[in-house]
Symmetry: C2
Subunit: 410 residues, 2 copies
């Protein structure tokens, strides 16, 4: 079977193919950057319009009750829960991933009074390390060590209080073994915080089953919640009501509207809240998440793996694409939902590709990063995108480009 | 002149009267709760629609540069700056008021290594105290003391590191003398953080001129930025590049997109950023703030004072309203942009008023809180609202009501 027929065959068998209609992706665009910013969907856009024009405009302050704004962080958390393998009341949407990580790092350290070491992987998304560094500036007993992602279990010992890991590497797509690492850490009394930024919405996750302690995640990537959408926190039920998090704002109080002088934390996951939730962004996210309500995450994972391996097989057949070095470990058990290709001109190649309607992104110093979002990417998209990339490489189109700006949000 | 003629005369002389057209307030509604949640405006709604339908949908990830999303926290900060009497690069929009207060409290304490006391006023909005309490849980040397709002200057001494005050009391509307208190604190080496939640957008503020050190504020009240809109931070230029704030996320890094392992703070106000900004909410806020671009804040302040004193004069003339006890100090130098009326049935009265189309709010235990937003409230509105309240009191309409929910966001 030729490669076009193969793509068509794969598309015809795709159980998720109807989901594409839910998204508002521009014509003539193949979007391989859903791991940076997921696209708009009709449901998200309508939810945004509804909160602005129907709720806020018409019902004003009464919307906090009439439209249940006050419960949105929990409602959205309950939508995210099944996507990550958690029970509904263990997840809450709020603040940013970095701020949520700060809450959990403090909380986890407080549960380990005799240990003061945070361990993370080299090449983790830098903001995670920055948050630990910011915490260390006022908790001088705490230290942070970085270890090779291939060598995490071997480096564990009983001095470590908290293991803070990103499940899928933002640059290479390398995926850690969540179950095995969590189990090894627990055997040594170590608590584990997983950052699911590049996992939630693209992989099959089983946080409860794997007895994960804590997780944070991002909802503007594979969950398509909108630019800078509220992040989320997962806390395993065994840790509910044990946490002392430092960002003790009124929304985390047991009785926010009693206006008491002293802070008393809410029961359960609500204690992770701080200030007034961002309702407009939260409503847009809530709309976006409805798309997942009837999706089986094992279908998503299977399609994600097949999309990326299909692209790699097409790349291997194109002589013009051989100068691109595949950085991603293609073992199904060790890759997330993206591939990374290294090339000295990766930045210019990426820009030329974008001009051809294929949107991927660049990561310093030489990585072309390609994300596969199974809800709106087809095998035919992958084939067309790869053909376009081959054409760019063959004609060295990227050499003629002038590129000014390099900053985009992961 | 009778009272109706007086209202009409005041309205005809009102230099801000045309501003009302900018807002999307429902017909037959008089909105006296802008100090809890400002109303929608056409500009805010259009900005929201534009970010969802034009920017996110069409330009996807490239919007971070094409639509300058990456600079929105500074752009919005620069819009807020003239409203609070600050230079543009001293204000940034981000996160929530509570989280921003945490950043500033830590930063201010770090500048005062030999002092460990935070002082605040009794009856301050509770979340401000909660944030200090959360910080104290992991900075055991720090303590928090509460003093009477009438007695702040007399209680200052050289043990105090940081004076954390809310400028206008959320319940009573009592306004502190920002210039005098800041000066008295500085004379004793105390740094001052002002919470402008009930000030920004309704009063004339002069942060730079009064040499205020730090401020936080809320943009969903008198700035009409939308429910849970991003908050803001002001840092006096003398403190730029001296701050070590603990929430060190990648957006506060000197070079966010270099993905370096170690945190290096940005210069200036950008170092107060943490995670990815909430773009949809930020865009709505940016739209809302355009309404202020040609407004003189001294006109706003003058009208605010006249609106509240007009209502009090009408109340005084209605025999049916005498059971409502005026709690607010009506001295122009000591009141913000609201009045508070105490009554044992305040909650039920408030609900009955809302059913008559006049939206105010209730605060525990017995306060009917009435906010005056000069950009969309007329003197005639105030007269009609007061007549409606008199009718409710006269007929004891509130006695017949069943009221279930009491929670609304300040």
């Amino acid at each position: 079977m030729d490669i076009l027929a193969q793509a068509q065959q794969l598309d015809s068998e795709d159980v998720l193919k109807e989901k594409r209609k839910a998204f508002s992706i521009p014509d003539n665009t193949i979007y391989l950057d859903g791991n940076s910013l997921g696209p708009a969907s009709h449901a998200a856009q309508m939810a945004g319009q509804s909160v602005l024009d129907a709720q806020w405009q018409t019902d004003l302050i009464t919307s906090w009750n009439v439209h249940d704004w006050i419960r949105l962080p929990r409602i959205v958390g309950a939508q995210i829960a099944p996507i990550i393998g958690a029970q509904a009341d263990s997840v809450i949407a709020c603040d940013s991933t970095s701020i949520n990580l700060y809450k959990l790092l403090h909380s986890a350290l407080n549960l380990q009074p005799d240990r003061h070491v945070i361990m993370t992987q080299q090449g983790n998304f830098p903001s995670d390390g920055y948050i630990a560094q910011g915490l260390m500036a006022h908790r001088s007993e705490v230290s942070l060590i970085y270890v090779d992602e291939q060598d995490i279990i071997a480096q564990l010992d009983e001095s470590i209080a908290v293991l803070m890991l990103t499940h899928v590497n933002y640059k290479t797509g390398y995926m850690l073994d969540m179950a095995k690492i969590t189990q090894a850490a627990h055997a040594l009394g170590i608590l584990v915080i997983w950052d699911l930024a590049h996992s939630a919405g693209a992989l099959e996750l089983s946080l409860d089953e794997h007895e994960v302690d804590f997780a944070v995640g991002c909802s503007y990537k594979y969950l398509n919640g909108g630019p800078g959408a509220p992040a989320f926190i997962y806390v395993n039920p065994i840790h509910h009501n044990r946490l002392k998090q430092p960002l003790t704002g009124w929304m985390g109080h047991a009785n926010s509207f009693a206006f008491e002088q002293d802070y008393v934390p809410s029961d359960g996951i609500d204690s992770l809240l701080c200030g007034t939730p961002n309702i407009v962004s939260m409503a847009v996210l809530k709309g976006a998440l409805t798309i997942f309500s009837d999706v089986d995450m094992s279908d998503v994972r299977q399609k994600s793996l097949k999309l990326s391996s299909f692209m790699v097989s097409v790349i291997e057949q194109h002589p013009a694409l051989q100068p691109l070095e595949l950085v991603t470990d293609m073992d199904d058990a060790r890759r997330g939902s993206q591939i990374a290709l290294a090339h000295p001109d990766a930045y210019a190649i990426c820009q030329a590709w974008i001009e051809q309607g294929v949107i991927a992104d660049f990561r310093e110093p030489n990585i072309l990063r390609i994300g596969f979002a199974p809800l709106y990417i087809s095998y035919f998209d992958v084939l067309k995108a790869t053909d376009s990339l081959a054409h760019i490489m063959q004609c060295k189109m990227y050499r003629a480009q002038q590129y000014q700006t390099r900053n985009t949000v992961t």
